[in-house]
């Protein structure tokens, strides 16, 4: 059968939709997306705070009952309907397009602040060599490096030391995105991921030999079984897995749309999920070994120095780098790992936006990428390398996670499960060529356990955020950049879904019609009495 030619004029997409050239490259790219800053700076503390070694139990339950089933939902939608999030959802149901644009806008918000953190990490890689923070890493970070304004607000006072590296991060990201799925995304992950793993393993090995490391590991792995009776601990496990696996961001929908038709979707998904967790466990060991050394050095308990997020990376770790033997090596490896883990995730976040516009406009890769990434980079460069960038980042991150991703995920599982009743069809699609077959169990997990877990987390978050002003910032600040931003994403998504698809767009793609026929021809008949 001949390939439909779409070569009509310069900006139009040429030829076929790109696919990952091999399964290995898809898996590597999906792991690159899933393994991000959260694996390194969030998981160790979440596990420590929620039962230590005993956290393994809710963690594994969350992976198997929610993380992997939701990952498969993303894979099924993206691969079956072969499009970016808005296009794939629209092909599934005309009314569902709005959910795709919601995810695109969520990814836009994440991308603009994520680039800032990568830039900080890149600078700290350099600072590690000279230990530029001196004796007081906290003062250096807040006052010398970020020059944080005394009060939360919006300032356009640019901080040169952050602006330069952010520009660098955006240039690298744009070059990768322009190059496309195979020459850009695959190649970048093919280089950065092995490098990240090697660097991180060396870091962990070095950390466990530091004095006091054993005490850190003892604190990390000692189980507190009473914690398992606390529903908050189970919610923390489900919440962490959900964010860590990058489900419901639109990323996995987009990436799976680039997989070949006969791909083993479930087999690949298990590898991605367990690789993500494997990296987290390694990070837990490395981080707590280093924190054990920090406590040993300060003559305090591990619990007193344990922390997560920005505080762990940019205050605790520099303190460790200053005191440890071969500290500069630890610093370069740690911050280098943050850069690579962050960059591979940023690429996947940007791909959600680029692919959506590429499909809607029907433009070629280069034009669509530039029309999307340059304005995104510009907004990012105006808001974040400023004296108020840290406040904005903090509020936007907290609200987009909870009232963007979490809320959107809840709506998606309800819409695709109960609303459209599509789970049997999607299971059938996944089972065509997959090594691990899905049946009623998967549908119960996605349609029942998924909404219950996500709903519980969302209600908890709404109660917390309503009852107190986030981080103690002024009400107007959280109102505009927290609640307002989260609401604007929904309004924006509705507006975007009202913009009609032109004739040039990928909605009318003969290649998809052909794909659809082949996929339906490959579907297995309904199972008779045998399900997994």
């Amino acid at each position: 059968m001949s390939t439909p030619s779409l070569k009509k004029g310069a900006p139009l997409a040429e030829g076929k939709r790109e696919t990952f050239s091999s399964r290995k490259l898809f898996i590597l790219s999906a792991i690159g997306s899933a393994v991000g800053l959260g694996n390194i700076w969030r998981f160790p503390y979440v596990a420590y705070e929620n039962g230590g070694g005993a956290f393994l139990i809710p963690y594994l339950v969350a992976i198997l009952c929610a993380g992997i089933p939701l990952l498969f939902l993303d894979y099924a939608i993206g691969h079956r309907y072969r499009g970016s999030a808005p296009l794939a959802y629209r092909r599934a149901s005309r009314k569902a397009e709005v959910l795709g644009w919601w995810q695109v806008l969520i990814c836009f918000v994440i991308a603009i602040y994520y680039a800032a953190i990568i830039a900080w990490a890149a600078m700290y890689c350099w600072f590690s060599i000279t230990k530029a923070w001196g004796d007081d890493a906290a003062t250096f970070f807040m006052e010398d490096f970020l020059q944080v304004a005394p009060e939360a607000g919006v300032s356009l006072d640019i901080v040169g030391g952050v602006f330069g590296p952010m520009l660098g991060v955006w240039l690298v990201a744009i070059i990768i995105m322009v190059a496309g799925v195979n020459k850009g995304i695959s190649r970048a992950n093919g280089i950065f991921m092995p490098l990240l793993i090697v660097m991180f393993v060396i870091l962990v090995v070095q950390s466990v030999f530091l004095p006091g490391a054993i005490d850190g590991l003892n604190a990390f792995f000692t189980p507190n079984f009473e914690a398992l009776q606390n529903p908050g601990v189970w919610a923390a496990a489900f919440g962490h897995i959900f964010f860590s696996l990058s489900v419901a961001f639109g990323i996995m929908v987009t990436y799976s749309s680039y997989m070949k038709r006969k791909s083993d979707l479930t087999g690949s998904g298990y590898v991605v999920a367990f690789a993500n967790s494997s990296f987290e466990l390694l990070a837990g060991i490395g981080v707590f070994a280093a924190l054990g050394f920090m406590a040993y050095n300060a003559n305090s308990a591990v619990g007193d120095v344990a922390t997560s997020g920005i505080g762990l990376a940019f205050i605790a770790f520099p303190t460790i780098v200053s005191a440890a033997p071969f500290g500069s090596v630890i610093g370069v490896l740690f911050f280098g790992s943050l850069v690579f883990a962050g960059l591979t995730s940023l690429i996947s976040i940007l791909e959600v936006i680029v692919a959506a516009f590429q499909d809607k406009l029907g433009w070629n890769r280069k034009s669509a990428t530039l029309v999307v990434t340059v304005p995104v980079a510009f907004i990012s460069m105006v808001l974040f390398p400023t004296t108020t960038g840290l406040y904005l980042l903090d509020t936007m991150d907290a609200f987009v996670n909870q009232f963007g991703i979490l809320a959107c995920a809840l709506v998606i599982v309800i819409v695709f499960g109960a609303g459209l009743g599509m789970l049997p069809r999607l299971a059938k699609h996944l089972n065509r060529h997959s090594s691990i077959k899905l049946g009623t169990g998967w549908m119960v997990l996605v349609g029942g356990v998924g909404p219950a877990a996500l709903g519980y987390m969302l209600i908890n978050e709404v109660q917390t955020k309503i009852s107190e002003s986030y981080s103690g910032y002024p009400v107007w600040f959280n109102g505009v950049f927290g609640w307002g931003m989260a609401g604007a994403l929904i309004v924006g998504a509705v507006l975007m879904s009202l913009v009609p698809w032109s004739k040039k767009s990928k909605l009318n793609d003969p290649e998809f019609e052909e794909h659809q026929q082949k996929v339906e021809a490959e579907e297995l008949p309904d199972p008779v009495g045998k399900e997994y």
């Binding site: 059968m1 005993a54 000692t222 189980p223 590898v271």
Partner: protein
């Protein structure tokens, strides 16, 4: 490290890293299929 911490460290490594090894083994048993875009009809043996 206490005995129970060591035990939980080993269980964590076995389940998570073991899970990765198992899923890689499963994938290696199912080699990648190529999209043969020549015929539309199902072959019936896939």
């Amino acid at each position: 490290m206490s005995g129970i911490a060591i035990t939980f460290m080993i269980i964590s490594m076995l389940t998570i890293w073991g899970g990765l090894a198992l899923s890689l083994w499963n994938l290696s048993r199912h080699p990648e299929k190529q999209d043969d875009d020549i015929e539309l009809a199902p072959t019936g043996n896939e």
